[in-house]
Amino acid sequence: MSQSVEPAAGVPALRVSDLRTYFPVRSKGLFPKTIGQVKAVDGVSFEVYPGETLGLVGESGCGKSTTGRSVLRLIEPTSGRIEFDGVDVTGLSSKEMVPVRRKAAMIFQDPYNALNPRHTVGAIISAPFAVQGVKPPGGVKAAVQELMERVGLNPEHYNRYPAEFSGGQRQRIGIARAVALRPKFIVCDEPVSALDVSIQAQVINLLRDLQDEFGIAYLFVAHDLAVVRQISNRVAVMYLGQVMELATREDLYARPLHPYTHALLSAIPVPDPRAQKQREHIMLSGDLPSPAAPPTGCVFHTRCFQAQEICASEKPALVEPTTGHHVACHFPILEFLGTKEILGPDPGLTPRAGGSLAGAAAGSNDLIREIGTDYGVGPDTPIDPGPSIWR
């Protein structure tokens, strides 16, 4: 995979503008009424260019899968605009979507439930040909066996059932099905999260090879920032339905601007004991607030160690302080930027809760509590975002 994909190269394979997907919250009882909305995706914009991978990361329930599904219109978005390869697909009927769908595909997290257990591998991988009425030159079986070979499955296993394959092999089946029609882009929803690391690495390498070969664009949804780094050219960090930061992978991992990105990166332990013991930790307290009652102002302010008064009342816009580096924060962490003037003076480096980045080091449970006491959830607030239906 080349590192040099220019974010401005030609027509994006996928362009998403101000996407919103809200789910109604219904009261319990015999005659349920709509009593609110879960803003699962709340104003998300991005492009993915041919041959490029955009990683989409964030904590459970932040709206990653809903974004991925809305883009393919597997869920109907509430508002926004979606373009495949320059064509606006937002208003298309499901019939009009059929030929357009050929350009797009999806790979799912769960290699166990994503495949119909009663269909043979051959039937599963050839399904897109049947749906789209495509007749590959050498016949369907030959095309499927070629695909199987390409993704590292034994073509002789054409007539076997999913149960006879391991998790990693099933994920390969899902990948073969996804690339069958040579789509322009694929939404990969946690494609390796259910796999062991040694198998994860095989599947990540396969995805990269297929991308090089066919120039596919990936929207790669995952909660694991190390996995995302391994495959992405650019990365978007989501929190409560909104994009907090979007940057090239180099910028995001080496020069993160958003406090939430800092917190996420510092929370991931690195597999190197000496390095790990020297790292600074930013402990965030509590869990995601309910997306049915998101905090006012900056949605992250209830957990943010940089928060000031303005954060609770004014929502920060997504700005681009340096080319290609987008951030939504009143007080981004500028230590790495060297051009502080762009965003004005920098009051944010004196954190509210008495801990500097380093001071919030591991061990200070009091700090956890101090930051956490006011994360906006009372005993009666339903704080569990609820089961995420596609996990």
């Binding site: 391991s166 095989q202 990540i204 917190a263 996420l264 991931i268 965030l284 509590g286 005993p379």
Partner: protein, 351 residues
Amino acid sequence: MTEYSNLRRAFLEVSDLSVQFPTEDGIVRAVDGVSFSIERGQTLAIVGESGSGKSVTAQAVMGLINKRNADVSGQVIFDGEDLVAMSDEDLRKLRGNKMSMIFQDPMSSLHPFYRIGDQLTEAINAHQKVSKTDARDRAIEMLHKVGIPLPAKRFDDYPHQFSGGMRQRVMIAMALINSPSLLIADEPTTALDVTVQAQIIELISQLQREFDTAVILITHDLGIVADVADEVAVMYGARVVEHGAVDDIFYHPQMPYTLGLLASVPRLTQVRSDRLDPIPGNPPSPLRLPTGCVFQPRCVYQDEVVGDLCRTQRPDLESVGPGHEVRCHLPAAKRQAAAEVALAALGRSSS
């Protein structure tokens, strides 16, 4: 440690533990001759792929394997007593008291219909006589310790009113409420987000220091291992294939599976080659473990062993340094060379 510690038994000593499940498809060898030991205040991490026998090992140590559907053999000497030979009733007195366990899925051990507080006080009352108010105070204090805001108020909540991370914290409160001297945490954070995971891991370490608990931490996350483990046992195909101090495993690994595992882990920082170097193939079925080395079908180094040893002979766990043991037929020099190559790819040297 005392100077005659060699003669003394370790606080927990597991030797030659095997667990087999007879099933319709044949005998599942879930754990095959596993040995390790651990002292109070220490953390032993058990790592390995799913199905390698980590959870069954933990359950066997806790005496949670139903002996009617399984063959358990070997010894688990806990503070001088053999748990394998112990009656179920005696085991029940120990569990939740002197030893306890945190499970991966908090809902599986919190009862959905009982209030959080009642479940905690019951855990206290099951093992000691305390007054109702004392038990309540203790439960609230424990909830406070694990970072539940407004613990007195939340005492009367039901589990579904808590988020996943909070339930996991309640589980920890429950596991530690009787100050156990042995805690087994089986993938305690696998279902959680990284920010919550960081809190939970820190919390376990803190309470471990407070109660001088021996902790066995089961995980597949090598980052967590690097963070908290003193010692590491690497399991593969029902066996421990390498065992040593945390630095041995990360900076002087010897067993080809350990090398492959380290090379497969995606990293947050730049390394020499940013392409991952996966282990080929798939882990073995516990119904058909290879006769020789369990890793042989996937091992790229087997050709460097003379003859057919890797395929036919089960390698022994051999000492390669103080407290460092490896199960592999490769001659020392070749193991060393393999390790150098793997570490160089990670941008690390073995010195």
